[in-house]
Symmetry: C2
Subunit: 458 residues, 2 copies
């Protein structure tokens, strides 16, 4: 009996989920599995780094590792750490790897290949961006370096560049570490994944938490002192003293190898796959996680979304398919949740500008309500904005900013989007009600009712 050879490039969520699931379906006598990881960790939660830095999560980087290299190896996965794949020979069905410890390179042949190379942080060409005291937070190594840096700084002034998820989460982390925090935001409002009117609520809440947010701030230069360490961040208008700088600018798909091999990448730089997560036009190559583009089921175009939950799903599906099972990833609706201290932020579906870009005409409705019955202790306010298609009333998107149970309410809208519901149908949804958990009209229902009126008014 021939042993099928599976090669996995990348040892984080997507790659190792794929390897694990394939191993569940096929034993070592049926399939050999070699996985290459260029870094020091496998299967870790990058999303947890802000909470490790803040001190909320104890136990160091190990706490964020879901499965160690040893655990993977004990499941008969030939995992090669600190080994970087430097070339994909898709016609010859082999990959070239560089063992970073020995310096040795070698080819490994495959029958099936999984590409899970992840994403890399955007590093704009700003003078000083590589200075000591300037930190990204994409990898566990980045987190460790930042924490080491915090032990050394003299002052307590932190500048966070970027006001997306990573930016606001790192603002909270630095605040909790006792730093004065300034967030430099290139856009109109923080959280550009929300419409600006909802982003403004985040801005105001961050103000209330003592975090200074500067909008429309384009960083031009990072200044350093005599020892080479960061001392300030300059924008086109101002200078911000800084003892430490955190970059939360975002990521882009790591697809250099795949491009060189001639594999298809989309408008956002991610690999394009079919619904089984097989690389478009290829029978023997799958890709998943932060290096692929996913179908936005509402906008009906591909997007790049670096998010652990998608990577895990991709890995599971790829593993099933390469292991002789079956699974598909139909796409996403663009759900994301985050928080800054006790402020919860959530979105799903399309923003106003997404809807316009998709050629959709829409109405909006924004309401304020509470997460519990108004009389119940701890009831706090939340704002829900809903977009519905003009005429048809089909739900297009929901954004929520508030406290106390605000964020995960977006899941109701995520399921409704997936099901293609109208806002009118949503008003009848049988959502859980009891005073500690919801007002008698759940905020999502209140928003849906107002959206129905907006649709009728056209």
């Amino acid at each position: 009996m021939t042993v099928e050879r599976l090669v996995v490039v990348g040892g984080d969520a997507a790659g190792m989920s794929a390897a694990s699931q394939a191993r569940r379906l096929k034993g070592p006598d049926e399939m050999s599995i070699v996985a290459f990881e260029r870094g020091d960790f496998t299967s870790y939660s990058a999303c947890g780094i802000p909470y490790w830095v803040s001190g909320d999560v104890e136990g160091g980087p190990d706490a964020l590792v879901a499965r160690t290299p040893e655990e993977h190896r004990s499941r008969s996965i030939d995992l090669r750490m600190r080994t970087e794949v430097t070339e994909l020979d898709v016609d010859g069905r082999r990959v070239r790897a560089l063992d970073r410890e020995s310096g040795e390179t070698y080819w490994t042949e495959y029958d099936k290949l999984v590409i899970a190379t992840g994403a890399r942080p955007v590093r704009p060409p700003i003078p000083g961006i590589d200075a000591p005291g300037v930190h990204g937070v994409q990898t566990l190594g980045d987190g460790r370096a930042l924490l080491d840096s915090l032990d050394q700084v003299r002052g307590r002034r932190a500048v966070v560049v970027g006001a997306g998820y990573i930016g606001v989460e790192m603002a909270e982390a630095m605040l909790k570490r006792g730093f004065g925090v300034t967030v430099l935001n290139r856009g109109e409002q923080p959280m550009a994944t929300l419409d600006p009117d909802m982003g403004r609520l985040v801005h105001e809440a961050m103000d209330g938490l003592g975090i200074t947010t500067v909008n429309g701030a384009a960083v031009t230069r990072i200044g350093t002192g005599p020892d080479g360490r960061v001392t300030e961040v300059r924008t086109d208008r101002d200078t911000y003293p800084a003892d430490v700088v955190v970059l939360g600018i975002g990521v882009e798909p790591e697809t250099a190898l795949a491009r060189e091999a001639g594999l298809p990448v989309g408008p956002h730089g991610g690999l394009l796959t079919d619904q089984s997560m097989r690389v478009a036009g290829r029978d023997d190559i799958w890709a998943g996680g932060d290096c692929v583009e996913v179908m936005d089921l509402v906008a009906r175009r591909t997007r790049h979304i670096a998010l652990g939950t998608h990577a895990n799903k991709h890995g599971q599906i790829i593993g099933s398919n390469v292991g002789g099972g079956y699974g598909t990833f139909p796409g996403v609706v663009g759900t994301a949740v985050s928080k800054v201290c006790d402020l919860e932020i959530a979105r799903t579906g399309l923003r106003e500008k997404d809807a316009r870009a998709a050629g959709l005409r829409f109405v909006t409705a924004t309401i304020e309500s509470t997460g519990r019955a108004g009389y119940y202790p701890g009831a706090e306010s939340m704002t829900v904005k809903m977009l519905a298609e003009y005429r048809t009333g089909r739900l297009l998107g929901v954004q929520i900013v508030g406290r106390d149970g605000a964020a995960k309410r977006v899941d109701v809208a995520a399921v409704a989007l997936t099901a293609g519901m109208t806002v009118e149908a949503m008003t009848a949804l049988d959502l859980g009600y009891a005073p500690p958990f919801s007002p008698v009209w759940d905020p999502v229902l209140v928003a849906a009712r107002k959206a129905v009126s907006a649709v009728r008014a056209g």
Copy 2:
């Protein structure tokens, strides 16, 4: 121009929502609105009573009143308090009312009638059930009487009869008031709205909170002392000393008037309506709230569910329809959430026995997970049980018992049930993920994945 005459029987959620919505659509020059309420309060949250009794909600009964009689009257609703409708003459289109203060009775004619007579507590014919110190908790008057009683009792032993929502919520309330609490439960496990295996988790958690639950306990007699006050509760097996007794036995539709008038009632004693909430076979009578049966969209039969959120929806829809607008109530999927101290309890759709009664063959999957990433502080366990139809894999029901964000997760399943999703489709749902809000696989997704395997295994 003729002024249309609307008469509303019952001044709580359904009735006054209907009146208010009708008034929004039609001014006093187009429609007169007379509403009769036999009690002392309008538009109040009976669901809030346990939290008023516990001391969580301050401000007395007023805090639970969403809109007072004066507020309704200021909106040109002719609201007659302490006035009980004693007869419906549906052929003559008039109702007879008794003013309980003056003792006067009179007829009022209508063009359109709304019946919102609510529910009445089940009072089994147990000797001693009317003794001082034995309390129901259906009305604000009941809540006040119980609180007065608590000021008078000498001992601190409370017996709660019934272990459904009201029973467990009142157990928490009495515990918070400093009482030792025994819950006498006729069934196999507390929370009969869950399957027994999930009810057992509630039982164990109540034990952990110091609440004694006795299952299979049929109350045979309530004993009293020389002053006539309650002293003990006897079951077929034991005797439980009691300084105060709370009845949480449930309610049944209050439809005596409607039956006398020959209006159609269903198998559970509730009025039957069409989707516009119009009483079946009648053009000029609508009914909603706790006095009607609702369509269970999963079981495809009617049920009686006394719940404020349904009553408010019914009122809104009835008000739209009698006011010349349009609205429908398609039905429910049976969602309910509750808590005992920090233990959250939720259900939606069918239990095993409901599925069997509906003629459906099914598989089940039960998983344990956490409400946040495992490494995130405060992550606590929850158990999710999922039922899916045999072969088709259609979701049939979900039950959740746990802490920290467990209950409202059931809303995802409520929307999926409404949309008729399969558990396989659910595994791809794009639910919000970030470490403070969810593990990378939301517990609902973990349950869906296991349910998919169960469906495949048949």
